[in-house]
């Protein structure tokens, strides 16, 4: 069972306290009505499906209830870092030496 650091509680706690909430850094467009169909499809349905460092959202649902972001490696299933919602994507390579942003099928 994974241990997850909640950036709001400041505690590292068992996975069962948390709920996964999809890919991170997909912001709802400011004015959805002005979006073209193609743009809206991109926002609604398209996800990166990364093999490697994946930025994703979690909710500390059985704790403080806050949504936050995490970088998790989808091969090792290890959390590299977690950070508060709204904060920018951290530089994972500088943080851990692991190259981020490798997509499925690429090396």
């Amino acid at each position: 069972m994974l241990l997850i650091h909640c950036p709001y509680c400041g505690e590292t706690l068992p996975e069962t306290e948390f709920a996964y909430a999809g890919e991170a850094h997909i912001a709802r467009p400011e004015n959805p009505s002005e979006q073209t169909d193609a743009e809206w499809v991109e926002y609604l349905f398209m996800r990166s499906n990364v093999k490697g460092v994946h930025f994703e959202r979690w909710r500390h649902i059985h704790g403080c209830g806050r949504f936050f972001n995490a970088a998790r490696h989808t091969v090792t299933d290890k959390f590299l870092t977690t950070y508060k919602a709204g904060e920018p994507r951290p530089d994972i390579e500088a943080l851990t030496g692991i190259k981020a942003g490798v997509k499925e099928g690429e090396k």
Binding site: A21, Q35, F67, A85
Partner: protein, 997 residues
């Protein structure tokens, strides 16, 4: 006492006999025996029949790697376990054991006909034989396979035993109670770490328990062991025997299963049978040792053929001679030492056949001094004997050529093909292994967790090396914990380190195609099967494994994987690491469902949520139905009524006078704050700005895709406070969605969300007399139609209780919903029942609620919608705040597919025969005479008998349904085709006058 027990020898208690049964016959063992050691002490080697060929089998090992000696064990009713390892289960009073997979008896088994026809049952046999005809699959082939193959039978009665579970957080977990593990635990404990040490057997000590001659720290080995355990205890180390580490999970979480009471004559009151431990350790040391490999030769599975180390364990740990005359066949020095121990204990060892041409001179001279014939460069050709080995044929090998064989009579054959480091748990962590070409073993390489491996698991051999390595591993862990280690390894005397080589199947002068040389004893896989798999195109060890089932039995290939790999690599002409290694997965040994489920069974499997009024419903004969986690009153039958009669009565009473309904399960969310109205405008489809405090509105919630997610009546209590209701099942989902948007998309909004579902008890009173029932109980509010019109909300006092009163209707009648603090729900209910008595107030359940709402065409999200229904599809376009700049789903509703024509739309259906009730989910077609498969244009979503209308009614989603009013559609059923007419969805009071009374 039997002739096979040596008085006073071993760690069993010779003064405490224990009686148990095996296949109905009573046997005597000693306290401390395993079932296997006790049976062997009685001269019993035949303990089971094999999986596929029904060959007679006996114990081949003395530990958890045992593939053959699997028994059914029973204590009492329901307390039965199949496939228990006789080598691990301790004897106890009240223990019944039975052999498995035999018909009619263990000694005479007609299933053994499979053995005679073994050529037919080769690798891939199932794939090749049971291809056709298809109709034979479930009628002929499967019953045949199921009857012919298999081991234990699953228990049929409910298990009455208790199973427990615990969490523990510690500094250091040491898995394996051999000398390396004990030393690692001592190193940690002396440095002040919080340590847990576990071992799967009944006693700590590991291999040391089988080697009493070793001296450690100047003491006899067993004295050192006792002193070490005493020290561990004094340092507060939790030492857990009979505890198997079953799996190694992320972040150093290790699952342990402790067998708490299986070894006890009587289970103490309240004691669990097993306890699951979830250990979160900062550091882990794996000291699981190594597993001895069998040799692969014809007849290597006959009862009496066993691992050399097993014979040594039975002798030294249990005081049992496994036979009277032994022949040892080996590729490793360790079996020579086993032979010496046996010979010195008075067992005749006829010969040691070693495949190696060169053997340590000291071993050879010691063997000769003990009268053992030494046969270097020798292979085994075969064994003979029906239910027990009677002789073994050996032959010299010279430059790959096998010479003339000779037969040596014996009653046990002790084999050793060298040792495999036990790295199962390490593999669970995705730790990488590396092939050591010299030792020809896989060793641990790249680690993914905070773990050290110590002792034989790293390929180290001998007690000195293991103790030393235990200290090294312990020190590394201690240092990582930020502590200082002081422990040093004690010196060792009479250490017997040795070396050996790894071989594939042994060379033979017989026909290798006919050899019954077993690799996987439990799944009956032979060397021939593996070579056949390679010939038939299997290249990866993963394919060989699946084709032959090698290593796929409950022992997870502990004995067979390496032999299988050596043979497959030989057949492929590749080095073992090029062929690969199958991945070990949890659990390490078979684990009971009881241990995994532990407390989470029966009524604790899932919570049953009950409302404050549930007790009244129960006392008044309600029939209940589950709705998500809630238990809800379904209907209230009177005097032997069936459901249809009760529902018809409840509906009529409500429409005629007044009905009362427990609506407490409705989800409730309090939305509060200066920006509450803006938040509501952005989330729900409706416009909220102009909704005045004291008024309510039907709210609709979509996803960004434009599909309906939830609905409910929402009341505005003040400028900054909304009382939102959701569907019963959707409450948590809606709150999660609201929190998501509030926290991550609109964190600037000053809004607070609180779940109040369980704070309020909600009672709905509906019917033309509803006001008359309620009015006498209300204080501080005029609830006349003029002062408190339809869709109002107010705070007042009802029956002396603080209340939030809604005027709304989910029945089409005049209706009120009264919310009071949950703890007072029953008080309110009973007050209403009393007040309503003169109007024959009728309690009704969820079924009547469904019928009444369907008569009005009110939808139920999740029943009349399925996640692909838009407000337009459901006829709810009026609920969209089209002038708002945005709400969740507004853009989604403009997607091309959602504005296209031909969408399925929610309509009413009236069957041409008013008595025929459609089946919910039934498919609808326009032309019943078209060829199959017919074009289906939709399905029935809701269907009821309406007592009010005296006929059946239904709702359905039908393609282009709004433009098909009054059209006839067809619903083909298995026995007939039903015709129905498309209508609107409102069947009762279409003008909506009744709610305005």
């Amino acid at each position: 006492m039997s002739t096979y027990r040596i008085q006073g020898r071993g760690r069993v208690n010779h003064s405490e006999p224990v009686y148990f049964t095996f296949d109905g016959k009573t046997y005597t063992g000693l306290r401390g025996d395993t079932v296997a050691s006790a049976l062997l002490a009685n001269g019993v080697h035949l303990m089971g029949r094999s999986f596929k060929y029904h060959r007679p089998r006996g114990a081949v090992s003395a530990g958890s790697d045992e593939p053959n000696a699997l028994l059914g064990t029973r204590r009492g009713k329901g307390q039965f376990e199949p496939n228990t390892r006789a080598t691990l289960q301790e004897v106890r009073g009240n223990l019944e054991t039975t052999s498995q997979n035999k018909l009619p008896s263990l000694k005479f088994d007609i299933g053994a006909i499979n053995d005679a026809s073994y050529m037919m049952f080769s690798a891939g046999f199932y794939y090749k034989t049971f291809m056709w005809p298809k109709s034979f699959w479930d009628k002929v082939y499967e019953p045949f396979i199921r009857a012919a193959a298999g081991l234990g039978v699953a228990p049929s009665e409910e298990d009455p035993d208790d199973y427990a579970a615990r969490y523990v957080h510690i500094d250091l977990l040491v898995v394996g109670g051999g000398v390396a593990g004990i030393m690692a635990a001592l190193t940690g404990a002396r440095a002040g770490a919080k340590v847990v040490l576990v071992d799967e057997t009944a006693e700590m000590g590991g291999a040391l328990l089988s080697e009493p001659a070793v001296t450690i720290g100047g003491m006899a080995g067993w004295d050192w062991l006792a002193a070490a355990l005493e020290e561990l205890e004094s340092l507060g180390v939790q030492v857990m025997t009979r505890t198997t580490a079953i799996g190694y999970y992320h972040e150093n979480m290790v699952g342990l299963v402790q067998r708490v009471s299986d070894h006890l004559d009587h289970v103490p009151e309240g004691a669990p049978r097993e306890r699951l431990w979830r250990v979160r350790a900062k550091q882990v040391v794996l000291a699981q040792g190594a597993l001895e490999k069998p040799l692969v030769f014809d007849g290597n599975d006959r009862p009496g053929v066993m691992l050399a180390s097993a014979a040594q364990t039975y002798l030294n740990r249990y005081g049992v001679k496994v036979g009277s005359r032994a022949v040892v066949v080996t590729t490793h020095d360790s079996a020579w030492y086993a032979a010496f121990d046996l010979a010195e204990a008075g067992i005749s060892v006829a010969a040691i056949a070693d495949i190696r041409p060169k053997i340590d001179a000291e071993l050879v001279s010691k063997a000769r001094a003990l009268g053992i014939e030494v046969l270097p460069s020798h292979t085994v050709i075969t064994t003979r004997g029906r239910l027990r080995v009677k002789s073994v044929s050996v032959a010299p090998v010279s430059n790959g050529a096998v010479g003339t064989s000779r037969v040596i009579p014996c009653d046990v054959v002790l084999m050793s093909g060298g040792w495999t480091p036990s790295l199962h748990l390490f593999s669970h962590t995705q730790g990488k292994l590396k092939w050591d070409a010299e030792a020809q073993v896989y060793l641990p390489d790249v680690k993914t967790e905070e773990v050290e491996i110590a002792g034989a698991g790293r390929g180290l051999w001998g007690y000195g090396a293991a103790l030393e390595d235990g200290v090294v591993a312990g020190r590394t862990a201690v240092k990582a914990l930020g502590l200082r280690a002081t422990a040093r390894a004690p010196g060792v005397g009479v250490d017997r380190p040795g070396t050996g080589i790894m071989v594939k199947d042994l060379p033979t002068n017989g026909d290798p195609g006919k050899a019954r040389a077993f690799v996987d004893f439990q799944n009956d896989v032979t060397a021939k099967d593996i070579r056949l798999a390679v010939r038939e195109g299997m290249r990866s060890i993963e394919h060989v494994k699946r084709y032959t089932t090698n290593g796929m039995a409950t022992d997870q290939g502990k004995m067979s994987n390496m032999n299988g790999l050596m043979i497959a690599s030989d057949a492929l002409g590749k080095a073992p690491p090029q062929v690969g290694l199958t991945t070990f997965r949890p659990p390490y040994t078979p684990t009971t469902f009881g241990a995994l489920a532990n407390y989470v069974r029966g009524h604790q499997f899932e919570v049953t949520r009950k409302t404050a009024i549930d007790s009244w419903a129960e006392e008044n004969g309600a029939v209940f139905e589950p709705v998500s986690q809630w238990r809800r009153a379904w209907y209230f039958p009177k005097d032997g009524e069936d459901m249809a009669a009760a529902v018809a009565r409840e509906c009529a009473a409500t429409r005629k006078s007044v009905g009362i309904f427990d609506a407490s399960t409705l989800g409730k969310i309090e939305v509060v704050g200066p920006d509450a109205v803006e938040f509501m405008n952005r989330t729900y489809t409706n416009p909220w700005t102009k909704l005045a405090p004291g008024r309510t509105r039907y709210g609709l919630l979509l996803g960004e895709d434009g599909y309906i997610r939830d609905d409910g009546v929402i009341g505005r209590l003040s400028q900054d406070r909304f009382h939102v209701t959701t569907t019963t099942g959707g409450a948590a989902r809606v709150l999660n969605m609201m929190e998501d948007y509030l926290q991550t998309e609109w964190p600037d909004l000053k809004v607070w969300l609180t779940s109040t579902t369980e704070q309020w008890a909600t009672v709905a009173v509906n019917g033309p007399n509803a006001r008359k029932v309620l009015e006498p109980l209300v204080e501080g509010l005029d609830i006349s139609n003029e002062a408190f019109p339809h869709m109002s909300i107010a705070e007042c006092t009802v029956a002396g209780l603080p209340a939030r009163l809604f005027r709304l209707s989910f029945t089409g009648e005049l209706g009120f919903e009264i919310n009071v603090p949950a703890s007072k729900g029953r008080v309110l209910w009973e007050a209403l029942m009393k007040s309503g008595a003169e109007y024959d107030i009728c309690p009704y359940g969820t079924e009547t609620m469904h019928v009444l709402r369907a008569e009005k065409g009110y939808i139920i999200v999740g029943q009349d919608t399925d996640g692909t229904v838009t407000p337009g599809d459901a006829g709810l376009d009026w609920a969209l705040g089209k002038k708002k700049p945005d709400f969740i789903g507004m853009r989604g509703l403009k997607r091309p597919d959602l504005v296209a024509s031909g969408r399925r739309q929610l309509v009413g259906l009236l069957t041409s025969d008013p008595k025929v009730k459609l089946e919910e989910g039934a498919q609808i077609v326009l032309d019943p005479n078209q060829p199959k498969p017919m074009k289906m244009v939709g399905w029935v979503t809701s269907s009821y008998y309406s007592a009010t209308l005296g006929r059946t009614i239904a709702m359905a989603l039908i393609e282009g349904g709004f433009d098909k009013m009054n059209d006839t559609v067809y619903i083909p059923m298995p026995d007939k085709t039903i015709t129905a007419k498309i209508t609107g969805t409102v069947f009762y009071d279409p003008e909506g006058e009744k709610v305005k009374l």
